[in-house]
C-alpha cells in the first residue's frame, strides 16, 4: 500500500429523460427498435435504469426484460434479457448486439410469439446526462472510505457502473484508483466482483467500504 499520488475526485451524474420517437407494440418491433435506436436509448434502458431503480435488490435488470415480462408475458425472453450484465461491456455497441441476438434467437425458436400484441407499447427513451463534482477529493484510504459513505448513490453508480463505458475497460473508477494509485490490486479485484444485480446500490456502497476497510486493518 502506498500513498496515492492523485486524490480520488468523486463526481456524480444526473440525467433528464428524453422521450424518443420509436416504440414497439410487439416483440418483432422491439427487435427492430433495438437495432435502430440511438446508443443513448440502449444506455438509458440498460445502464441508466439501474440508477433509477437502485433500491431494488432483485427482480429488476433492464427495461427490455421488464417489458417482455410485464407487457408481453414472455418469461423466457425476459429471463434471457435480464441475464445480460451491463458490466460485461465496455461499449454500447456490444450491449446492443447481445440484446438483438437474444431477441432474434427467441423469435426463431418461438415464432408464435411474434404475432402477439403487447399489453402496452415499449417507448424508447434516452437520457441527457450532466456530470457534477461531488464535494469530496480524498487522498488517503480512510478519507476515501469516509467520502464513499457520504456521497449519493448516484455517485456510486457513476463510478462503479457507468465508468466502464467511459474508460472502455473492464474496470471501474474505484478499482482503477485503488490499483493504480494505492497499489491494492486484490482489493481492486474484490470490488470488481461485487454483483450489482443482487444488491441495492446502498448495498454496493457498503460492500466497497467494507472491502477497503478490511485492507486498512
Amino acid at each position: 500500500m502506498r500513498k496515492p499520488d492523485k486524490p480520488f475526485y468523486f463526481n456524480t451524474s444526473e440525467s433528464l429523460i428524453r422521450i424518443g420517437r420509436q416504440k414497439a407494440n410487439n416483440i418483432p418491433e422491439l427487435w427492430q427498435g433495438l437495432q435502430t435506436c440511438p446508443d443513448d436509448s440502449i444506455f438509458q434502458h440498460t445502464v441508466r435504469t439501474l440508477q433509477e431503480h437502485h433500491f431494488i435488490r432483485q427482480g429488476f435488470s433492464n427495461d427490455f426484460a421488464h417489458w417482455c415480462l410485464s407487457a408481453c408475458n414472455e418469461p423466457v425472453l425476459a429471463e434471457q434479457l435480464a441475464s445480460v450484465d451491463v458490466r460485461e461491456f465496455t461499449a454500447i455497441e456490444g450491449l446492443r448486439r447481445r440484446m438483438v441476438a437474444i431477441v432474434d434467437a427467441f423469435l426463431q425458436q418461438h415464432p408464435q410469439s411474434a404475432t402477439k400484441p403487447a399489453y402496452e407499447p415499449f417507448y424508447f427513451c434516452a437520457s441527457s446526462i450532466v456530470i457534477l463534482p461531488a464535494q469530496f477529493a480524498p487522498d488517503t484510504l480512510p478519507g476515501f472510505v469516509s467520502a464513499l459513505r457520504q456521497v449519493s448513490v448516484h455517485s456510486i453508480h457513476h463510478h462503479f457502473i457507468e465508468a466502464r463505458l467511459r474508460l472502455h475497460r473492464m474496470s471501474n473508477d474505484f478499482s482503477n484508483w485503488l490499483e493504480q494509485e494505492v497499489g491494492l490490486t486484490r482489493v481492486a479485484e474484490s470490488i470488481e466482483r461485487i454483483d450489482i444485480y443482487t444488491n441495492t446500490m446502498e448495498g454496493v456502497r457498503q460492500q466497497i467500504a467494507n472491502i477497503v476497510e478490511q485492507s486498512l486493518n
Partner: protein, 465 residues
C-alpha cells in the same frame, strides 16, 4: 365556472396556497346538512375540526428537505443552479389556485428562486367564454368528442393575443403550462429565451381536430415536456419526461406522530386494531369505488378488514353525488365500510388515514398519473392499483406495489398482502424508495435545472455556429 381571472402577476409566491385535498382538487362546498347531521349509513359525519380550512402553512426551504433526500442531493441541486445564477425563468399557467399545476408551482417557484434562479409566475386572464372553450379543449384532448367551431378557435386566439400583449417575456427560459396559454409562443421572436411547453395532460388519444389546431403552436417551442412516455405525441421538437411529484413536507405527505394518526382515526371511527384497506379518491366512476367495495367483500370472506373510502366531489357535483349513492348501496349495512365525503382542504386528515392504512388501493378504470398512488407509496404502504395511465410508472409489479386488472385480482391481492406481511413490508419499503428517487418535489426542481442547463448549452452552441 370561472369568472374573469385575476390579473395579478404572481412572483415568488410564498403564501403556500392550500389547495390540497383528494387528488381531484374540486372545490367542495360542505353542505350545511353535513355539518350537523349524524352518520348517514356508512357515510361518517365529519368532526368539527375539518369543517373549515386551516391556515396555510409556510413554504419549506431547501434545507428543510435535507433529512429526506440527504446532503449530497441538496449539494447537487445547489451545484446545478450555480451556473444558472442570475438567469431567470417565467412560468405561465391558467390558474393561481386549485388544481395540481398551481399546487406544484406554489412549491417549485420559491425553491428555484431560493437557488438564485429567479422564477416568475404569471397567470393568464380570460372571460367565461375562453375558459369554456379551454375546458372543452381539455376534455377533447382526453379523447372526448368535440365539434371544433371557428368561433371557438377565434375565442381561443383572441384571449391568447390579449395575454400576449399584456405579458412581458424578459427571462431566459419561458415555460408555458398546458394548452390554455399555448398561443403565447407567438411572442417568441421578440425574445432570446428558450420556450418550453409543459403538458400535464394525457395526449395519447386526443380529438384529432383539436390537436391539429394546437399542434402548429406546440411545434414552435424548443421542447415539450410530458408526464409519461405514453402521454406524448410525435413531434419534431425534443420531448422530455418529467414525472409529476409530491411534496414530502406538505400537509398531505409530511411525517405525523402516531398519536396524531390515532386521533384522526378516532374522530372518523376507524379501528386501528384491525386491518384497514383504503382508497382515497373523489367519488367518480373512473375511480371505480363500487368495484373497490366488491373487491373488499370478496376478500372479506377470507380475511378480516375494514374498508375506508375517503374522497370528495359528492357535494358540488351531481355525478359525484350519484356515485356516492351507488357506493352506499353497494356497501349495504356493513359497519366495516367507512365512507368519508371530505372537503378539499382535508389534506392533513387524508395523510393520517393513509398512514393508518394497512393497504392502499387505487382501482381506477382510467387515470392520469395517479398522485394518490405516489402519496401511498411515499408512506411506505403496500399499494394495489390498476395498470392504467401513469400508474405502471410508479408500481413495478411485485417490486414497488401490485398491479391488478380486475375486481377479482384486486380482492386476491388484498387477501395476499394481509396474510403475507413480510412481502407487504418489502414492497412498501421499495415503493417509498421509488418515490424518493423519482417523484419528489426536489427531483422536480432538479429536472428543471437540468433542462435549463441543457437548453442554455444548446443556445450557446447555436450562437457559436
Amino acid at each position: 365556472m370561472k369568472t374573469e381571472q385575476q390579473r395579478a402577476t404572481i412572483t415568488d409566491p410564498t403564501d403556500g396556497s392550500r389547495s390540497e385535498g383528494p387528488e381531484t382538487g374540486a372545490v367542495v362546498a360542505l353542505p350545511e346538512a353535513t355539518k350537523t347531521a349524524p352518520s348517514r349509513g356508512n357515510i361518517r359525519a365529519l368532526p368539527a375540526s375539518v369543517l373549515t380550512p386551516p391556515a396555510p402553512a409556510p413554504s419549506p426551504r431547501l434545507d428543510d428537505y435535507r433529512d429526506i433526500i440527504g446532503q449530497a442531493q441538496v449539494d447537487a441541486l445547489r451545484f446545478l443552479a450555480r451556473d444558472l445564477k442570475g438567469k431567470s425563468i417565467k412560468m405561465v399557467n391558467s390558474t393561481a389556485v386549485g388544481g395540481g399545476v398551481a399546487e406544484m408551482l406554489n412549491r417549485l417557484v420559491p425553491l428555484l428562486s431560493e437557488l438564485k434562479v429567479p422564477t416568475h409566475w404569471d397567470v393568464i386572464t380570460g372571460g367565461n367564454d375562453f375558459f369554456e372553450v379551454t375546458k372543452a379543449f381539455h376534455n377533447a384532448l382526453h379523447g372526448t368528442g368535440y365539434e371544433l367551431t371557428k368561433a371557438a378557435q377565434e375565442i381561443f386566439l383572441t384571449y391568447n393575443e390579449q395575454n400576449r400583449e399584456r405579458l412581458q417575456f424578459e427571462e431566459e427560459l419561458v415555460v408555458i403550462h398546458d394548452p390554455q396559454p399555448v398561443g403565447l409562443i407567438r411572442s417568441r421572436d421578440n425574445t432570446s429565451a428558450s420556450w418550453v411547453w409543459r403538458c400535464h395532460i394525457d395526449l395519447s388519444n386526443p380529438d384529432e381536430r383539436v390537436w391539429e389546431f394546437l399542434r402548429p403552436f406546440v411545434e414552435q417551442y424548443d421542447a415539450a415536456i410530458f408526464s409519461s412516455q405514453s402521454f406524448a405525441r410525435q413531434l419534431p421538437i425534443p420531448q422530455y419526461l418529467f414525472y409529476p411529484c409530491i411534496d414530502p413536507l406538505s400537509e398531505k405527505n409530511k411525517d405525523l406522530p402516531d398519536s396524531v394518526v390515532q386521533k384522526v382515526c378516532d374522530e372518523f371511527g376507524i379501528d386501528r386494531s384491525r386491518p384497514i384497506v383504503t382508497q382515497v379518491s373523489r367519488f367518480d366512476r373512473l375511480k371505480d369505488p363500487v368495484g373497490v367495495v366488491h373487491a373488499y367483500k370478496l376478500a372479506k370472506k377470507y380475511v378480516d378488514c375494514q374498508l375506508v373510502l375517503a374522497g370528495g366531489g359528492a357535494s358540488d357535483d351531481p355525478e359525484g353525488a350519484a356515485v356516492l349513492q351507488e357506493v352506499k348501496e353497494a356497501a349495504g349495512n356493513d359497519p366495516d365500510i367507512i365512507i368519508l365525503d371530505l372537503p378539499p382542504w382535508c389534506a392533513f386528515e387524508i395523510n393520517a388515514i393513509q398512514r393508518a392504512s394497512t393497504i392502499v388501493l387505487q382501482k381506477s378504470l382510467k387515470e392520469g398519473f395517479g398522485l394518490t398512488v405516489t402519496e401511498a407509496l411515499w408512506k411506505g404502504k403496500p399499494t394495489i392499483a390498476s395498470a392504467v395511465g401513469g400508474i405502471p410508472n410508479q408500481i413495478i409489479h411485485k417490486l414497488t406495489g401490485v398491479l391488478v386488472h380486475s375486481v377479482e385480482g384486486c380482492a386476491f391481492q388484498i387477501r395476499y398482502l394481509l396474510t403475507h406481511p413480510d412481502f407487504a413490508l418489502r414492497i412498501g419499503a421499495s415503493g417509498r424508495e421509488h418515490v424518493k428517487e423519482n417523484f419528489l418535489m426536489t427531483t422536480n426542481v432538479k429536472r428543471w435545472l437540468l433542462l435549463f442547463r441543457i437548453l442554455e448549452e444548446a443556445k450557446a452552441r447555436g450562437a457559436a455556429r
